[in-house]
């Protein structure tokens, strides 16, 4: 049996090695996604607002309005000179925002009361990100509030505040990573996401050769030579578990070594619990290969295999938080995401790579993936017995 199984597995690996499209889908595509998405989203976890081009139109020459502009420049760099056609530039996105300081702003900031009338306008590019829009508005309000507070304090007998004192000093904000765990970066987020996506792409590759074997009578020939159903299924599953292992090693290596050379952040594996990582990867591979076997046994033609596999993959990725992070989804979509095996895989990897979790943290996700894999294997066995010669 081992020699028979090995020869069938060898055939499977040779077939894959000679299929450039299959290799590209399994290895190159997720690798490209990791590189491109990590570089594109590099600043999402450490946004730099200083690089946004902006301009100021000040209709108030008072001291406090001038001070507000000075303070704003410290965090956002110098503004561009206000062009005559600034509304048009704003609409076309060449200017990201314009601060319009209305007359009476300095007077308003000097009053020891809360304002009831807008004196500052924040006008932005219509395509500006919603979170960034809110951040700019909040920062502007906070800055104006601080200037008003400083002015009010200067009118009292209280001692002047120390040079580094600020309302911002009141708030300490940080992402809670494990003590020795990695810092959240786009690479740390993207490697798990696209690794899971790539691992599930075995669906299309595995089904393709299976359909060919069935259509050409090769499967019937193997059966007539007395090859058991179990050996045929195992000869499909085991090589693709190996493919998943190579994918994982390659994607992690890309994150660790290639990304820093391309100007991105490096994937940090410092403090990672390796046992937990292996458990997460093993359970994802089992689920992906199980699903691939079901699809391979269910489809009848190359056209069905070529369409169904990628469609299923992209849908699971869209629903499962691979393409759009789950935390930005509305509640209903987040509940739906919890039904996607890709989401279980992603959460398992994030638990290890982002949160520094151990086996206990991965176990709930791995258990779901394991149950899913078992169900898929049973279904594949049933379908194969029913349809194979």
């Amino acid at each position: 049996m081992p020699a028979l199984l090995w020869s069938l597995m060898k055939k499977e690996l040779l077939a894959l090695a000679r299929d450039p499209h299959g290799l590209a889908a399994l290895f190159l595509m997720p690798l490209m996604f990791i590189v491109v998405m990590s570089l594109a989203l590099k600043d999402v976890y450490a946004p730099s607002q200083a690089s946004l081009p902006y301009a100021v139109q000040s209709r108030d020459d008072g001291e406090l309005a001038t001070s507000l502009i000075r303070q704003w420049q410290r965090g956002h760099g110098a503004p561009q000179a206000l062009p005559a056609d600034w509304p048009e530039r704003l609409r076309s996105g060449r200017l990201k925002y314009v601060l319009v300081l209305g007359p009476g702003l300095s007077e308003e900031l000097a009053q020891p009361t809360l304002p009831t009338t807008a004196r500052i306008q924040l006008l932005t590019d219509p395509a500006i990100d919603g979170n960034l829009f809110n951040a700019l508005r909040s920062e502007l309000g906070g800055l104006a509030g601080e200037l008003k507070a400083r002015h009010a304090l200067s009118d009292t007998d209280a001692p002047p505040p120390p040079p580094n004192a600020s309302m911002m000093a009141l708030v300490q904000a940080e992402r809670q990573a494990a003590h020795s765990g990695p810092r959240p970066t786009s690479v740390q987020q993207n490697v798990p996401a696209w690794l899971v996506f790539g691992m599930f792409f075995v669906i299309a590759s595995l089904a393709s050769l299976f359909v060919q074997e069935r259509a050409s009578g090769t499967l019937a020939r193997l059966r007539s030579l007395g090859v058991p159903h179990a050996a045929l299924l195992a000869s499909k599953a085991l090589p693709y578990l190996g493919v998943n292992a190579v994918q994982a090693a390659l994607m992690l290596a890309v994150g660790v070594w290639l990304m820093p050379r391309l100007g991105g952040d490096a994937l940090s594996l410092t403090g990672i619990r390796w046992g937990a990582l292996l458990l997460a990867l093993g359970s994802i591979a089992a689920a992906a290969v199980g699903l691939a076997l079901v699809l391979a046994c269910a489809v009848r033609t190359h056209a069905q295999a070529a369409a169904t596999g990628p469609i299923l993959n992209v849908l699971m990725a869209a629903v499962g938080g691979i393409m759009v992070p789950k935390f930005v989804m509305p509640a209903a979509m987040q509940r739906l995401a919890e039904w996607s095996p890709m989401n279980w895989g992603l959460e398992a990897l994030l638990a290890v790579l982002l949160r520094g979790g151990g086996v206990a943290a991965v176990l709930p996700h791995a258990a779901r993936l394991g149950l899913f894999a078992s169900a898929m294997l049973l279904l594949a066995w049933f379908l194969f017995r029913k349809t194979a010669p």
């Binding site: 028979l4 009578g217 007539s224």
Partner: protein, 305 residues
């Protein structure tokens, strides 16, 4: 060697049986030709022998043992060369043979020996390292044959093994299959739509139609069954004139005249000459399987059932 006794099979929800009480035998050292139009039951019969369909009714025995038992003990004793190119196109000829050889439970030196032997038998030595997808149709057929012979089977079933090949490859395949029976002593079952192929290599013939054996026996005996038939090509011939000599049948470009007692081919040809419509071609003395099949079923062998 192989005995089918009253074998019947009906597919789920099918109105008619695919095989209806089929009985036949195949002997070592002999080629059994299996003839029948599409839907006659050939594929169902082959699927049974390949072990991919269970026996519902009747028996299949190999040297007195039930087929299922033989297949469980030594599946390589019976090999099937299917009509399709049943191998891996992306693997080379040698890789395909190595894969199917290992699947046939051949190991080590025995496996290598069988690979070389089958490469030589199918004259594929010069193509051993070529990927199967790059072979011509004829070479692909030879690879199909070589794979079937890997386990050195005692019974080989060929299902339309010459479909889509050039005349040279067809001649080579027929010679090779004939030598399997006559020189290596294998029992061969050969199915084909090509009557001339069956006539060229089979010693015995079984004619299947609609799941039943409608005639079987030695080839020569079946060919002699047609009786005194004169096949003619005579443009413009008066059919009423010809009908006076026996039973006339118009097969398109040719006329088939079963001569009534007392009539001879010479008298027919003389009458055609006298009528000014001389025969351009005439054949007499030996029927063929196609004629026999048509006389039995009133249909052509290549008609869809």
């Amino acid at each position: 060697m192989l005995t089918l006794d009253q074998l019947s099979h009906r597919y789920p929800r099918a109105r008619a049986a695919a095989l209806d009480r089929v009985s036949l035998t195949a002997e070592r050292g002999s080629v059994l030709g299996l003839l029948g139009p599409n839907g006659a039951g050939k594929t169902t019969l082959i699927s049974h022998l390949a072990g991919t369909l269970p026996v519902q009714q009747g028996e299949i025995r190999v040297d007195g043992q039930p087929l299922q038992q033989v297949r469980a003990q030594a599946p390589g004793r019976i090999a099937v060369a299917p009509q399709e190119y049943a191998f891996y196109p992306m693997l080379s000829v040698r890789e395909n043979l190595a894969c199917f050889g290992a699947v046939s439970r051949l190991r080590g030196a025995r496996l290598q020996g069988r690979i070389e032997s089958c490469l030589a038998f199918a004259k594929l030595e010069g193509h051993a390292d070529v990927r199967a997808e790059r072979l011509s149709g004829g070479l692909k057929r030879r690879l199909n044959l070589a794979i079937a012979l890997l386990p050195d089977p005692e019974l080989v079933l060929f299902d339309e093994p010459t479909v889509g090949v050039d005349p040279q490859s067809r001649a080579f395949l027929l010679d090779a299959i004939r030598s399997l029976a006559r020189e290596r002593g294998a029992a061969v079952i050969y199915t084909s739509h090509y009557m001339e192929e069956i006539e060229a290599i089979a010693e015995r013939v079984v004619i299947l139609d609609q799941g039943r054996v409608i005639r079987q026996g030695p080839l020569e005996a079946l060919l002699a069954e047609g009786g005194p038939v004169l096949t003619l090509s005579a443009p413009g011939a008066d059919t009423a004139l010809l009908a006076r000599f026996g039973e006339l049948r118009d097969d398109g470009p040719r006329l088939r005249l079963r001569l009534a007692a007392g009539n001879t081919p010479a008298s027919v040809l003389a009458a055609l000459d006298a009528a000014g419509t001389p025969a351009r071609q005439a054949e007499f003395g030996r029927g063929n399987l196609e004629q026999l099949f048509m006389s039995l079923t009133h249909r052509s062998l290549r008609d869809d059932a």
